[in-house]
Amino acid sequence: MNFPLSSPGEELALRILGKVAYQDRLPAGRLAPRLGITRGSVRGLPELHLYLTPDDRTLPALSLERLADWVEQIIVDGELASRIRAAVGASASYVDGCIRVRELVGQRLQQARESLAQHSGEPGERKEA
């Protein structure tokens, strides 16, 4: 499963790096001992990547299955959605699944930046991991 995703075209790359409408947001809370489950949402893959960054005090609180559907239907990136489903299916735990999805999303974001850079003739912008 380590083969790369195919490079996104400009239109898809813009969606991957963009922000969806409020009504299309993905419910994504956070579990923190003492505070409980706080509500929240994600409106784009860059945000999702940051949201899934592991820490030792809290856990992301979202449905990974629903996330895959959201990527397929809202971001309209069927290839990434398939890879997310496969990664979640192969994961040893929910947390492992979150980590695997984060890696995939990180790769996809990088591909999208490089794709847009190629279209504009500029080097791809990098984000701090």
């Binding site: 009504q23 956070r30 489950i37």
Partner: protein, 709 residues
């Protein structure tokens, strides 16, 4: 009276008079909330007040005998009571609490509590130096933030160079009666409890002490603002006598040895409450690992941190959470995320704003903005820069407008649910777009549809209960599931061990921990809620054991997995008795908690409570806590159809309004309250030695009917 300072300070702000009360008269109430409620009852002459900004309201800041003695996670808390501000319709007689070193310093100065009455005609602050109490002009402090105000007061009290003076001499103020151990001088800075602009403007006011100890829920910072009280500063050079210091130290050491994780070989996956090692409960990414643990005086926890960055010091938990959903939409790195989160927390501390309302309140405002009804030129006019949501700039604009009653803050100062009605958005309480679950308070993060004891306890009380007695089961269990770790204990063992601690209402009745659909409206759950309310009213809110650590019902660090609560070697009562010389049992304390809870209820009834009002926001009944909407599982112990205990996911259900109403009848019956009204009966009150409350209720025509036999 071992453990007590011996005196209570009574401030009449209207007449600028200072009175001294003898603590001994109130000894039967223990301390903290019990002491505060008793003082409120005595000095608040109009208990029909429904808005804490009324000058007739009385606010009490109260310590416990344990404060300043070295009891683990039971030394540095302080309780504040009074009629609140900003809830839905009636703001109930309520409570809030904070940590730090204020309560200990108040006792070292010789005071167990401060009663605040009336309203000063001009802003004042109170300067307490041992027995000397002076009301000072606060005109130059009014308008200043909480940190600047504290620094200004520190300069006034013998520290013009900030912290550079090594000793503060209070010799000339020394009371000869304080004895030879009082040297009359200290290296400590005064402990200052203060309001910021939010409190001054009576809008979401929180009380703040040092950098990050906040008492937000209840809106008692707004009460101080209404009284023109900017701050209370206290510095003391005395001490507290402990009845049996050896027993106190032995119990503390035993707690460490037996119940707390070993520093040499820590068990990071332990299941316990008292057991974890010091760790900040900052909710966003930490911008640096360069930090020191920071805690309330005498605590073994260290739930906060001080960083090498110059921001975020002492903030933790809620104030580091409310904005994170939005920060992640703009931050480009975890470090930037953490920086915005902690700086937003700092702003809440400096403005003295109760950020708890923003936990579900800001998502609601965003919802209104996205629906196109809130914004420039919209139905709800607002100039908030929504295009910058998630940035520190937006956070500051929002905090400023809420603290100064500008923009949307003008309406919201009167309460969020009343504002929803004013804005024609009551439907949001039906759909769940606005998640203010009980009494106009935000849902905490433990949804009443799943976590019964939290929701039921909140709606039967005065506000979000914020008592974490049992929900460690959910967090530890869910975390274990999330990591696919072995479950540390089977559900039947967990509930059986915990039920051993549930005297007097549910000892050895594990069914009280059955959160299943079949059990959610039963007498068993009513007993669980009673135990929690009564335990908390005494041990947590009067003795002032910290909510983050107590009760410790189940503990994988300990032999047989029995927690420290109620234990013969390190239980709550062991510490209480070592300090006071009493001979209480855990159950005795719970009985005292029941008495205090009943006094609270008598006040609520005088304020206007009737059982028909005791209902959740409509969305709790009309919508389901959607499965897989957020966290993938919300696991609690339940019995299945065959009676076998299993950990069960409780998402996907709502509460049934009619069944909940019937459950209240069970609860009222167990409490000895009139099921028809929820009002206490004379018989119940007299059994609890609250005949004076029965008299007041009878005079008001609000005494419950005795059950006909």
């Amino acid at each position: 009276m071992h453990g007590y300072a011996g005196k209570i300070l009574r401030l009449d702000l209207t007449g600028r008079n200072v009175f001294v009360l003898d603590t001994a008269k109130y000894r039967e109430w223990g301390g903290g909330h019990g002491l505060g409620a008793a003082l409120f009852w005595e000095f608040c002459k109009d208990k029909t007040i429904t808005d804490g900004r009324n000058p007739g309201n009385v606010c009490v800041v109260a310590t416990s005998p344990l404060c300043g003695t070295g009891v683990p996670s039971g030394t540095g808390r302080c309780e504040v009571v009074g009629i609140g501000v900003g809830y839905d319709g009636i703001s109930w007689f309520t409570r809030t609490g904070f940590g730090g070193r204020f309560s200990t310093m108040l006792k070292y100065a010789g005071w167990d509590a401060v009663v605040i009455e009336g309203r000063a005609d001009q802003p004042v602050w109170v300067d307490i130096r041992n027995d000397s109490v002076t009301l000072r002009d606060a005109a130059h402090l009014w308008g200043k933030d909480t940190w600047t105000t504290q620094q200004e007061i520190w300069k006034t009290i013998g520290a013009p160079g900030g912290t550079h003076l090594p000793w503060r001499e209070l010799d000339r103020l020394k009371d000869a009666k304080r004895g030879g151990k009082d040297q009359g001088r200290t290296t400590q800075l005064p402990a200052v409890l203060v309001i910021g602009p939010a409190g001054e403007n009576m809008s979401h006011g929180s009380l703040i002490h040092d950098a990050g100890n906040g008492a937000g829920q209840g809106g008692l910072g707004s009460v101080w603002g209404s009284k023109n009280l900017k701050a209370i500063s206290v510095i003391g050079t005395g001490g507290i006598t402990v009845a049996d210091p050896k027993a106190l130290i032995q119990a503390r050491l035993q707690l460490k040895r037996k119940y707390i994780a070993s520093y040499e070989a820590p068990d990071f996956r332990q299941w316990s409450r008292i057991g974890p090692l010091a760790k900040p409960i900052v909710q966003g990414p930490l911008p640096t690992d360069e930090r020191r643990p920071q805690s309330c005086q005498g605590c073994v926890n260290g739930c906060r941190a001080r960083f090498n960055l110059g921001y975020g010091n002492e903030s933790a938990c809620q104030e580091t959470s409310w904005y994170n959903e939005f920060i992640q939409k703009v931050a480009t790195s975890p470090r930037e995320f953490g920086e915005i989160s902690l700086k937003a927390a700092d702003l809440c501390q400096k403005y003295g704003l109760n950020s708890f309302v923003l936990q579900t309140g800001l998502p609601w405002l965003e919802h209104l903005h996205e629906e196109g009804v809130l914004g420039p030129g919209k139905q709800i006019p607002s100039d908030l820069p929504w295009d910058k949501l998630g940035t520190l700039e937006f956070a500051e604009r929002l905090i400023h407008c809420l603290s100064t009653k500008t923009d949307v803050g003008r309406d919201l100062a009167e309460g969020w649910v009343p504002t929803a009605r004013k804005w024609g958005r009551e439907k949001d309480l039906h759909t769940g777009a606005m998640q203010f679950s009980y009494w106009g308070c935000p849902e905490h993060g433990y949804d009443p549809r799943a976590e019964l004891e939290w929701g039921y306890g909140s709606i039967l009380g005065d506000r979000d209960t914020n008592t974490h007695c049992f929900n460690f089961m959910f967090t530890q269990l869910s975390a274990a599931f999330a990591y696919a770790l072995p479950i540390r204990v089977e559900p039947e063992d967990l509930v059986t061990i915990q039920a051993r601690k549930m005297a007097p209402y549910a000892k050895d009745r594990p069914e009280v921990f059955d959160f299943s659909d079949a059990n959610m409206y039963t007498e068993a759950v009513a007993q669980l809620v009673r135990w929690q309310q009564h335990y908390c009213r005494f041990w947590k809110q009067s003795a002032l054991f910290c909510d983050l650590k107590w009760p410790d019902l189940f503990n994988t660090n300990a032999p047989h997995q029995e927690g420290a609560t109620g234990s013969a070697d390190a239980g709550e009562h062991v510490f209480w008795n070592a300090v006071t010389g009493d001979a209480l049992t855990l159950e005795d304390g719970i009985a005292m908690g029941r008495r205090i809870w009943n006094l609270d209820n008598a006040i609520w009834v005088l304020q206007g409570r009737h059982r028909d009002q005791v209902h959740f926001a409509p969305y709790i009944y009309e919508t389901k806590y959607e499965k897989n909407e957020l966290f993938p599982f919300y696991l609690w112990p339940c019995r299945d159809e065959s009676g076998k205990w299993v950990y069960t996911d409780l998402m996907g259900r709502s509460l049934d309004r009619k069944k909940f109403d019937e459950w209240k009848t069970i609860f009222y019956g167990l409490e000895g309250w009139d099921p028809g009204t929820g009002w206490p009966t004379r018989g119940t009150l007299e059994k609890l030695k609250l005949g004076f409350a029965a008299d007041a209720l009878a005079a008001a025509g609000r005494l419950g009917k005795e059950e006909s036999r």
